[in-house]
C-alpha cells in the first residue's frame, strides 16, 4: 500500500488561560486518507466579541487526530447558503459541521451544532449544549468527540487530559513540576512544584487523583493527590525504593515497586489499610508494573533473564499472585515500562534494539509487535483512553518533548516547552460521563 507522508508545517503557539506560553504543538506527520471536512466558524449573535472560537478548537482537534483533514480557515470560502451541499461536494468535502453560539444567562452560553454528510445530503448529528464561559473549550472538545465517534464509530478522546513532569532551570536551580493540561496542551495546571525530582504520574481510574513519586524528603516516596483540591497523602515511605505506582482498575489499590526487603520487587498496596502485599520474589530487578483493565494480570519489567524484558503474572480477585511470571517480550535486547490499553488488548512499551529506544505496541492475542515511533530515546508511552493514539516522551534538539502518534504509527504531533524538558506523559481516562 502506498503511504504518503504529508508533512504539515503548521506550528500553533498555544497560550494558557493566564496568557503564559506553556506547551507548543506541532503536527509533524499527517495521515494519508484523512477525511476531508469543513468546520465553519460558529455563528455568534452576542453583543460583545465572540468568547471562544469553537470551530477553530474543533478543527484543530480533528486535525491532530490524523484521521481528518479539515479545510484551513484561510481557504474557507463560503457559499451564500452554508448548506449548499453541491458547493462543498465540488470542493472535495465529504462532511460539514455548522453551529451557532448564543449568550444565555450571566456568563453562560448555549451552543448548537449540526454535522452533515455532504454526499448524501443528510444530517448525521445535531445537538444543543450549554456551558459557562470557562468551560467553552471543554464543550468544543466534546463536539470533536461527537464528530469523531459519529464518523469513525470509535469514541473520541479530545475531552481528556494529560499529566506530565517538566524540568526547567529557574533562578539557576533545577525545578521539577507535575502538571495537568487538556489533551491539546492548553489550560496547564501545576499540581506540584519541587526542587527534587518528581516522577511517574499515574491517573486514578476515576480521573480525580494522581499517584506519583516525589524525592522531596531526599528519597523516593509515593504520594496520592486529589487534583481539584490539591490534598495529598504519602502512601508509601519504606526504606529503599517507593516507586512506579499504578492503580488497580477499581481504584482501591496501587501496584508499586519497593525494595524494603532488599531488592526491587512488585508489591500491591491497599490504599485503605495501607497494607503491602508482595507479588514478585526474585533477586533480579522487578519494577514498572501495569495492571490489566480486568484486574487479573500484572505486566512488569524484570532483568531476571539478564536484560530488561516484560513478564506477566496472574492475580486473584484480592490481588494475590496465582501464577509464576511468564515472559512476554522476545524481540530486541531491552523491553520495559509497559502500559495496557484501556480495552486490555494491547501493551505499549519501550523497545530497545541496536542502540535505539523506540516505542512499540504489542497485540496480546496475536503476540505481534509493531514499532509505532522509531525514536532514539523514547520513554513513558501512554494510550489515549480510546486506544487510538499513544503519547510518549522523546528527545528533540537536545530537549525532552512529548509526542503523540496514532497506533498504526502514521499521524504524529509534538508537544514541547520553549525551554526545559517535558516528560513522563500520562493520558487520563475519560473524564465525562458517556
Amino acid at each position: 500500500m502506498k503511504q504518503i507522508w504529508v508533512l504539515l508545517t503548521c506550528i500553533v503557539w498555544l497560550w494558557s488561560s493566564s496568557a503564559r506560553a506553556v506547551l507548543t504543538i506541532e503536527i509533524t506527520e499527517g495521515i494519508d486518507g484523512a477525511l476531508p471536512i469543513a468546520v465553519l466558524p460558529f455563528d455568534w449573535q452576542g453583543e460583545a466579541g465572540v468568547p471562544e472560537d469553537i470551530a477553530a478548537i474543533v478543527a484543530a482537534d480533528l486535525q491532530r487526530s490524523g484521521r481528518f483533514a479539515p479545510l484551513a480557515r484561510a481557504q474557507l470560502e463560503q457559499p451564500k447558503n452554508q448548506l449548499d451541499f453541491g458547493f462543498w461536494k465540488s470542493r472535495g468535502i465529504d462532511h460539514l459541521l455548522v453551529g451557532k453560539m448564543l449568550p444565555a444567562a450571566q456568563g453562560q452560553y448555549k451552543v448548537q451544532f449540526q454535522l452533515f454528510d455532504v454526499v448524501k445530503g443528510e444530517q448525521l448529528a445535531g445537538y444543543s449544549m450549554g456551558a459557562e464561559d470557562k468551560h467553552l473549550r471543554k464543550l468544543a472538545h466534546r463536539i470533536s468527540d461527537i464528530v469523531f465517534e459519529t464518523l469513525l464509530g470509535v469514541p473520541g478522546a479530545f475531552d481528556t487530559k494529560i499529566a506530565y513532569v517538566t524540568a526547567t532551570e529557574e533562578k539557576k536551580q533545577r525545578t521539577y513540576k507535575l502538571a495537568v493540561a487538556d489533551a491539546d496542551g492548553m489550560n496547564e495546571q501545576i499540581i506540584l512544584s519541587s526542587r527534587q525530582p518528581l516522577m511517574s504520574p499515574a491517573w486514578s481510574p476515576d480521573g480525580k487523583r494522581l499517584a506519583y513519586v516525589s524525592f522531596e524528603n531526599q528519597r523516593p516516596q509515593v504520594f496520592v493527590q486529589t487534583i481539584s483540591s490539591g490534598k495529598r497523602e504519602m502512601v508509601a515511605a519504606n526504606a529503599g525504593l517507593n516507586n512506579a505506582p499504578v492503580w488497580s482498575p477499581d481504584g482501591t489499590r496501587l501496584a508499586l515497586t519497593l525494595s524494603r526487603d532488599g531488592n526491587a520487587e512488585i508489591y500491591v498496596l491497599n490504599l485503605a489499610s495501607k497494607r503491602q502485599y508482595r507479588i514478585t520474589r526474585h533477586y533480579a530487578i522487578d519494577t514498572e508494573a501495569t495492571w490489566s483493565p480486568d484486574g487479573k494480570q500484572l505486566v512488569f519489567t524484570s532483568d531476571r533473564g539478564g536484560r530488561p524484558q516484560l513478564y506477566q503474572i496472574s492475580l486473584d480477585s484480592v490481588g494475590r499472585r496465582v501464577s509464576s511470571p511468564k515472559r512476554l517480550s522476545f524481540e530486541g535486547s531491552y523491553n520495559s515500562r509497559a502500559v495496557y490499553s484501556a480495552d486490555g488488548s494491547r501493551l505499549a512499551f519501550v523497545h530497545g534494539k541496536e542502540g535505539r529506544f523506540t516505542i512499540a505496541v504489542m497485540d496480546l492475542k496475536r503476540r505481534s509487535m509493531l514499532v509505532v515511533a522509531d525514536t532514539r530515546l523514547g520513554e513513558s508511552p501512554s494510550f489515549a483512553p480510546n486506544g487510538m493514539m499513544v503519547i510518549y516522551a522523546a528527545e528533540k534538539g537536545g530537549k525532552g518533548v512529548l509526542e503523540a502518534v496514532s497506533v498504526e504509527g502514521r499521524a504524529r504531533q509534538r508537544l514541547g516547552l520553549q525551554s526545559g524538558d517535558v516528560r513522563e506523559p500520562a493520558w487520563s481516562p475519560y473524564l465525562s460521563k458517556r
Binding site: M199, L241, A264, A284, G306, R307, P308, L377, E379
Partner: protein
C-alpha cells in the same frame, strides 16, 4: 588474622560474581558484565594486599585534601551494569578503610544511570549500583549505620548531553560524606 583476611577476600569475590547480571547480549555496548565480574576474583586479592600496605596511610588522610586519593568520590559503570571495574573497586576499598578508621564518619552512596531506557527501571538500576558499592564497604568491616544508599536513576545527570560522552560520566555512584572531621 590472615585467615580472616583470606575469608573476607573470598566472600568479597563471591559477592562480585553472584552480584553480576548474566547473559550480556550482542547488540549493546561494550564491556560484558559477566566478563567484568569474572575478572574480579583475582584482582580483589591483589587489592586486598595493597590495601593492607596503605591502610595506615588512609586512616590519617584528610577528606579535605585535594591531593589525597580520597578526594576521588565517583565510581563509574558500564552500560546497564552494576559490576565495579578494578579501578572502581580500588577506590571503594580506599574509602572503606577510611570509614573503618573513622566510625564517626557517614557516607551517602548515590546511584545514578544514563538516560537510556525507562526511568523507573533506571531508578532500580541506580539502586543496584549503590548497593553493590555498599556491599563491598560493609564486607570490609564498615558499620552499616555509617552508610546510606539512594538512587536517583537518570533524574540527575552530571552532563545533560544525549551522547555516549555524557552517558559515560552519568553512569556512576557518588560518595558523599555527610558527617566527618
Amino acid at each position: 588474622m590472615n585467615i580472616f583476611k583470606a575469608l573476607l577476600v573470598l566472600l568479597f569475590s563471591v559477592t562480585l560474581l553472584t552480584g553480576c547480571p548474566s547473559t550480556p547480549s550482542k547488540d549493546d555496548t561494550t564491556g560484558g558484565e559477566g566478563g567484568a565480574g569474572a575478572k574480579g576474583s583475582g584482582d580483589a586479592a591483589q587489592i586486598e594486599g595493597q590495601g593492607a600496605d596503605i591502610s595506615g596511610g588512609v586512616s590519617s588522610m584528610s577528606l579535605e585534601d585535594p591531593a589525597s586519593p580520597l578526594s576521588k568520590r565517583v565510581i563509574y559503570f558500564d552500560y546497564n551494569s552494576y559490576a565495579l571495574s578494578d579501578e572502581g573497586r580500588a577506590l571503594v576499598e580506599l574509602h572503606a578503610q577510611y570509614l573503618s578508621a573513622h566510625p564517626e564518619s557517614k557516607l551517602v552512596l548515590e546511584g545514578h544511570t544514563d538516560e537510556r531506557g525507562s526511568r523507573e527501571y533506571n531508578i532500580a538500576l541506580g539502586e543496584r549500583r549503590a548497593g553493590a558499592v555498599q556491599k563491598i564497604i560493609q564486607l570490609l568491616g564498615v558499620d552499616a549505620a555509617q552508610l546510606q544508599a539512594i538512587s536517583f536513576g537518570e533524574e540527575r545527570p552530571v552532563d545533560p548531553g544525549h551522547v555516549e560522552d555524557a552517558w559515560q560520566v552519568n553512569r556512576r555512584v557518588e560518595l558523599l560524606y555527610t558527617e566527618h572531621r
